[in-house]
Structure formats: C-alpha cells, structure tokens
Amino acid sequence: MEMRPAQKPEARKASGILRCEEIVVDFDGFKALQGMNFTLRQGELRFLIGPNGAGKTTLLDVICGKVKPASGRVLFRGEIDLTKRREHQIARLGIGRKFQAPSIFPSLTVREHLEIAMRQDRGVFATLRAKMTPADEERIAEQLRMIGLEAKAGRKAGSLSHGEKQWLEIGMMLMQEPEVLLLDEPAAGMTDRETEKTGLLLREIARRRSVVVVEHDMEFVRNFASSVTVMHEGRLLAEGSVDEVQRDERVMEVYLGRRRDADAGRSTA
C-alpha cells in the first residue's frame, strides 16, 4: 500500500480483494488502457462509468483473462497475479464474468445451464462421475426461483427472450459462487421494471460478494451505486461517491464538454 501513488486515500482503506496496477493494453497500436489503476474492496458494489472508448470493458477483459495486458498486474486477494493465469483458471479462482450480449448455450436447457455452472470440480473425470445430489437439486431450484425461470427450467435457452437470457446468465454466475462478479451492462435492453429488479438483485448480491458493474445508464447508476469509478481514455479519471463524482469538474468536462473542448479535457485528465 505504501508504494501506491497517493491518489484517493479514502478509496484505498483496505488492500482490496482485487487490485489492478498500471494496466496497459495495446491493440495493435491503439492503447485501450494506458496505465489504469483500480482497487475493489471486499463486499463492494462498484460502478464503472465513462464515455465510449474509455476502456471499461477492456478492464473487465483484463481481469477475467480474456485480454492479456502489455504491462501491469492484477492482484487477486493481494497475492495472485491474474495476468499470469488462463481464463478457466481465473474463473475457478472465483471471478465471474457476464458479457454485454447475453451469451448462453442455445441447445442446453435452463436447468442444464445452472447445473454446469454450479460450483464444483470442473475436471473431465469429475464431470464424468458427477451425480445430482438432493442438495444440488435444491440449490438449482432456489436459483431458478431467484431469477424467475422456474416455469422454463426445461426449455432450451435458445428460445428464451432477451431479458430472460440476461437473467439466466446472472443465475449462472451466482451458481458459480464467485467472490468477484464482473458485469457488463447487465440492464442493457431491459424494461424499466426489469432494470429496477436487476438493480435490487445487484445490491443483494453485493452483500456477500464484490461486484463491478459497467454501466451507461446514469439514472441506474444514481439509483444503485455506492461508489463510482470514472474512466477516460484508458485511465482512471475520478473515484468516489455518486455525488462526489458528479461534482468533479473533470468528469463534467468529459461528459458535457468533451466535443466542445476536447483538448482541455485531455490535458486535465
């Protein structure tokens, strides 16, 4: 901790369950992340906002191993460097990822999704022998209730509606019992009521787990965020409560005056 640049001391009280240090991502010359720093505390619900191209999704991609950074480290529980691990290993460590577009297995039933997502030994020999225990059945039934898909448990996921697929994916993530959840616009394409329900669910989840949510919908952020990280051009711009961030001059410039005064915005960032 003492080696960290003194940025926002109040946001770094604990060492954090997840700590990204000076992450640089280079897509063939385009620097999507240019030295991003980010710390997530245990049990925190953090919203990640910023204009298009700020690098929010890329940051999630780096954490879950989909993108390997050119430099920088991602420390999980303060000791494990995730940039050295492969995707499935990171998932097994307890980091769940939900992508922006619902990605489910179209030919598997809803119940089968939850079954394979369930926290378990994921080796070939384990799944060859795996038996459904009554406890497993109950866990799956409970999850089905939570995501409201009980009646469609036997349906192939390919036939679900957009919102139902999103819920199924959230259900799958919860079955994994991850310590950290990374969600990319979980409420995208949802109706107001569904969005409201998603927000409440996120709060509920964050009681036991640490959650990072990438979100564009500022209304949603205002309603449910406790702390917000603002990214801009691949860097950390501001961090704090919703009110603090909204009053931040640089944030206002980025969001409001970006077109009019682009150079000023960049120089302050």
Binding site: C64, H88, S103, V124, T127, S159, L160
Partner: protein, 382 residues
C-alpha cells in the same frame, strides 16, 4: 425401481432398445451367411459412426481423419493375423520386398492380447497427441478439420511407401486363424458377428452414458459456446481431447472387428474418401443423436453394397447427391424425421391460430438466431 414407475417415454425408449438389441443378436437366426457377414461389417462401421457423433454431434469438432484411427486398429489386428497365418515364417510380402528378418515393431503383435490392446490404444494415443497440441493452441473449426485431412494424407502415404513393413498398396491379407479358430468356418463367423454386435451395443451404451452425464452437457456447452464455457471455469481443450480420444478408440475397435469380417486392410480403406464417408453416415443419420449415427452407418453401407454390386460408378454420384439433399432439406438427418409429425402439427396449429401464436413462434426463432450470433464474444476494445 419398477418399470411402471418410469415415464412413458422412457418405457418406450427402453422397449425400443430391447427390440433393437434382440434383432441384432438374433440376426444369425434369420440371415444367411453372406448377409450376416455383410451386416457384421456394417455393425463394425457403425461403431466408428458412434465415436464420430460423440465428437462432431456433441462436441462440435469435425474430424475428417477417422479413417486413420480406424486403419490403425485394423492394421494392429491384421498384423497379428498375418503373423499367425505365416506360422513363424516371415510374412510373404516382406520376403517379396527383400526383408530377411521380422522388423522389431512387428514382434509383439505375435501376441493377440498385445495386438488388441494396440488396436485400441494406438489410435487413442495418436488422437491424444494431435488433440493436445491443436486444442491447447485453440486451433479449431475448419483448421482442425484440415489438420485431420493432412493426418490422413501423411498416414496413407507412409503406409503405401513403406511396402516392406506395411504391405504397401495391397495392404495385409491372407489370414487363417484367430485363437486357433478358422476364420472361414461359418460357425466362427457367427461368433464373430455376435462379438461385433455386442461391441456395438457396448459402444452405444458407453456413448449414451457419456452423452447423458454432466460430462456430456459440458461437451454440448463447449459446442454451443466454447468461450462461455471457458469463463464458467471449464477448460474446453481437456474436454475436446477426451472426446477425440474416446472417438479414436472406438474407431480403432471398429477397425479391428472390420478386418476380421473382411479379411483385408489396405491404405485405400483408411484414405480421404472413406474418412469423409464416415462423416456422411453421421450427417445422414442425424448428428447429435446416437441412434441416428448407427442407423446412418448401417443404411448407407447397405445401400452402398446393394447399388455398387450392379452400378459401381453410380454410387459415388448418388452419395454426393444424397449428401447435398440431406444438408439442405434434412439438416438433422434421418433422426430428425422422428420429430417431423410433431413439427408439422405445430406448424399447422400456428397457421390455424393466425397472427398471435405465429408471432410467438417467430419470436422464438429470432431469439435462437440471435443467441447464435451473440455467442462469439466480442474482440473490439470496448
């Protein structure tokens, strides 16, 4: 659990399996020797189809190189049979090629146990090696398929070129006995048929277990969305390699049985065309359904032997046409026809009910298509 407590669908399924199994095992009672021998050959080939279906239909990995695994099993058995037939002397084709003593790698094939084990394990080992390097490096889809074709070319070229060790283009033939039993004896042929039928039933049971286990569900998940499976914590390459190995082992087993019925194995039986034909059996029977794969193999080979007896040139033409027709009109193969009445009924109901329910059906389809499109996880920066 009594049979009566099972769901009706399961009862019908079990009854169907029992009927099929008794029809297979009872075939010696109602088929003449010639037909029985043909059927034995088809059943052996159906085992290849089962393995291919597990790999292609369930895991989504298309191998156009199963002729090689089939051939390795067949050659392992042929080497043993040839050594027995040569009765301690050098096999004839070796002396013609100027060899004076038995090559070292031929020696262990004098033992029937070693030969059978090799016929099963060599294909699995080759699949393990090829699968390990390709799936680990995330070589997949059409690139993997091309690699399997390359494997076929390499192997057949090697077998043709090393005439002194493999019998070259002619392959290995001229067998007499197995375990001291004369292969030409009709009673032995009946036993060999039964062994093949039991092997097919066992392979079917194995594949059914695999497909119905959680392992099988992970295979289907990997087929539907490899990346998604990875982010739940599964290592797709492990599962793909396992499926590839099991599939290759089944092909090897089939090859061993095939040699016993046909009495010859040559490189042309493991080449490009047979490798593609094997996939066609699965495609025409219905990929992703084990019964479809078995039926596809038996029916296609039956049709082939009927037609090619009278019109040998017509067969290749017909098989091409059939393949195109199946892909366009019956993407789910013959097995898809089982659901046809239900599908037609649904369609009729939908048209009868008019706009409302038709809209629901259409929406379902659209959602399915979208899921397919959305699966490929984006690679754009943000």
């Amino acid at each position: 659990m009594s049979v009566f407590s099972l769901a009706p669908r399961r009862v019908w399924l079990l009854a169907g399996y029992a009927a099929a199994a008794s029809a297979l095992l009872g075939a010696p009672l109602y088929l003449n020797d010639f037909r029985l021998n043909l059927l034995a050959k088809f059943l052996a080939l159906a085992i290849v189809a089962l393995g291919l279906d597990l790999l292609w239909g369930y895991t989504g990995v298309l191998s156009l190189g199963h002729g090689v695994f089939f051939g390795l099993g067949a050659y392992a058995m042929a080497m043993h049979l040839k050594l027995v037939a040569s009765g301690g002397k050098l096999p004839d084709f070796m002396s013609w090629s100027g060899l004076t003593k038995l090559p070292w790698f031929w020696k262990p094939f004098g033992s029937p146990a070693f030969a059978m084990l090799a016929g099963l394990l060599l294909p699995m080992l080759l699949a393990l090696l090829l699968g390990w390097f390709t799936f680990q490096s995330r070589i997949k889809g059409v690139y993997f398929t091309i690699l399997t074709q390359a494997l076929v070319i390499i192997t057949t070229t090697l077998f043709v070129g090393q005439q002194a060790y493999t019998g070259g283009t002619n392959g290995i033939t001229g067998y007499t006995t197995l375990f001291g039993l004369r292969l030409s004896d009709p009673r032995v042929k009946v036993w060999l048929y039964l062994v093949t039928a039991v092997a097919l039933l066992a392979a079917f049971a194995l594949c059914r277990y695999l497909a119905g286990s959680r392992f099988g569900r992970v295979l289907r998940a990997i087929r539907d969305g490899e990346n998604r499976a990875r982010f739940i914590g599964y290592d797709p390459s492990r599962y793909q390699v396992t499926a590839f190995c099991i599939s290759a082992g089944l092909a090897g087993l089939a090859g061993m049985l095939f040699v016993l019925h046909v009495g010859i194995i040559s490189p042309s039986m493991m080449g490009i065309v047979p490798s593609i034909e094997m996939v066609l059996w699965v495609a025409i029977g219905g990929r992703g359904t084990l019964v479809g794969a078995v039926l596809g193999a038996i029916l296609m080979n039956g049709a082939k032997s009927l037609l090619s007896e009278s019109y040998p040139e017509l067969w290749t033409l017909l098989i091409g046409l059939l393949f195109v027709a199946v892909v366009i009109f019956m993407p789910r193969g013959l097995a898809g026809l089982v659901d046809l009445p239900a599908a037609l009924r649904r369609r009729r109901e939908r048209t009868d009910a008019g706009g409302g329910s038709g809209g629901v059906g259409g929406f379902g389809n659209a959602a399915g298509a979208e899921a397919g499109g959305a699966e490929g996880v984006r690679h754009s920066p943000v």
